[in-house]
């Protein structure tokens, strides 16, 4: 068993970080929406919802950081500069790594944005 996945040849890795963002977003939105519609269902306070959002955020940020690290590795730890436009598999892979790294950065910011409401809103007011 290895903790860090080995490098794979696929286009799908490009979407890892944004998929984490969307999962985090849906967990926060749906969780809060269900809590506000049926507070009696879970029987917890709103602070628990905020704590849940915080936990989801920490998990999402860690996953994105992992994805960024993998991307950084695929990018050859930044030894080459863009534009990565040589007609070789190596440059193609570097390009993938760099683009994935950028997307991880954007997703990281977006997850932080998504978590911000839980800092400011303390109840289910409408």
């Amino acid at each position: 068993m290895r903790l860090i996945p080995k490098e794979v040849e696929t286009l799908w890795t490009l979407f890892t970080a944004p998929v984490v963002w969307i999962a985090h977003f849906l967990v926060c939105y749906i969780g809060a929406a269900i809590y506000c519609a049926k507070p009696e269902l879970v029987g917890l306070s709103f602070s628990a919802v905020r704590a849940g959002i915080a936990a989801a955020t920490v998990i999402a940020l860690s996953l994105i950081a992992l994805s960024a690290w993998l991307a950084w590795r695929q990018w050859g730890f930044g030894t080459d500069d863009p534009p990565h436009d040589d007609p070789t598999s190596r440059d193609r892979s570097l390009f993938q790594g760099f683009a994935t790294l950028l997307l991880s950065g954007l997703s990281f910011i977006a997850v932080i944005f998504t978590a911000m409401p839980a800092l400011f809103l303390t109840e289910c007011i409408r």
């Binding site: 911000m116 007011i125 409408r126």
Partner: protein, 326 residues
């Protein structure tokens, strides 16, 4: 032209010293005040950003002498496209999120002592019921009065399609959705009369669905509300009899009479309102008479049938009686 509106009198009244409907940038309510500040902050920031981007664009396209090297150009993408927007937007988002809970506080500060107004949107008018902390509910239509300096809770419903309730200088809007009860709270800071339009498209005469909102000093408001709780006296009693004889009472309610209809707007104190026809006509005998005769000319899609088969004198008498219900 002039078919739908001829309301100089009403709009003059409505404007109450200001030319035109009051804009969201001339706030007289707490929520509108804070949102206006937010707007000015965003506008000035936005204007600077726009000028900067356009200047850079023009420089790059027309005025620069030498091409920049790729490294520096990439750095412009990083700083201009990512770092600057991320920081600015984060700050702006925090500002807005910080504003949100305070704009519409329901639970704190409100208790049972507050006035609650229940408003139901209908094609194309507004049913208004005041629930004062003490005393029985008071029904009215197409006009909302509220005391200055006191937070009022509004309960918003719809009886048919989606409408949206909005008084621009007081605060943001809230939809009225069938099957839902939405709440809004408003705090007027200055007296005045404003136009409130229906803000969600609701059918043929959506444009002709408005109301007048009047913010009054608390004492004046309370005595006005007390007056509304009792039936009005109108001079033209013959008009009242005609009103009942021609069946108007099967749709309209007039307190203290046998008119007990609940389909159309409550007319108990019609004469005391600023406008008639849901914010679109001045409150004059002539306007009321025109509405009775041919409602569909004034408000297409209105549920009220035309009464132009009645003798003109009857219509005038009814209009005079209604106008007299102060």
């Amino acid at each position: 032209m002039g078919r739908y509106f001829s309301l100089s009198a009403a709009s003059l009244l409505l404007a109450s010293g200001h030319a035109g409907a009051r804009s969201v940038l001339e706030p007289v309510g707490e929520e509108a005040q804070q949102i206006a500040v937010l707007f000015w902050v965003m506008l000035s920031g936005g204007a600077l950003i726009w000028l900067g981007v356009v200047a850079l664009l023009l420089h790059a396209a027309l005025f620069k002498r030498h091409g920049m090297n790729e490294r520096s150009a990439s750095r412009i993408i990083l700083w201009g496209g990512v770092v600057f927007p991320s920081v600015t937007l984060c700050a702006l988002l925090a500002y807005a999120l910080w504003l949100m809970p305070g704009l519409r506080p329901f639970t704190q500060a409100m208790g049972s002592t507050a006035l609650r107004i229940e408003i139901t949107g209908r094609q194309f008018w507004w049913e208004v019921v005041y629930h004062p902390p003490q005393g029985p509910p008071v029904t009215s239509a197409n006009e909302i009065r509220l005391p200055v300096g006191e937070r009022v809770e509004l309960t918003l419903k719809s009886a048919d399609v989606i409408h949206s309730f909005w008084i621009p200088p007081l605060g943001g809007k809230m939809d009225m959705i069938p099957g839902r009860t939405n709440r809004l709270s408003l705090l007027a800071t200055k007296p005045g009369a404003f136009r409130g339009p229906c803000a969600e498209y609701c059918g043929t005469s959506h444009a002709l669905m408005a109301f007048s909102a009047v913010a009054m000093e608390p004492e004046a408001f309370r005595s006005w509300l007390a007056g509304q709780a009792n039936p009005a006296e109108s001079a033209g009693a013959s008009g009242g009899a005609l009103f009942l004889r021609h069946g108007c009472g099967s749709c309209h309610f007039v307190a203290g009479t046998d008119a007990r209809g609940l389909i159309g707007p409550d007319l108990s104190h019609l004469g005391s309102r600023i406008t008639v026809g849901a914010g679109i006509l001045p409150n004059t005998e002539d306007a009321i008479a025109r509405f009775i005769a041919r409602p569909e000319l004034i408000k297409p899609g209105s549920r009220m049938p035309a009464f132009d088969m009645l003798p003109p004198d009857d219509i005038r008498a009814i209009a005079a009686w209604l106008r007299g219900l102060q």
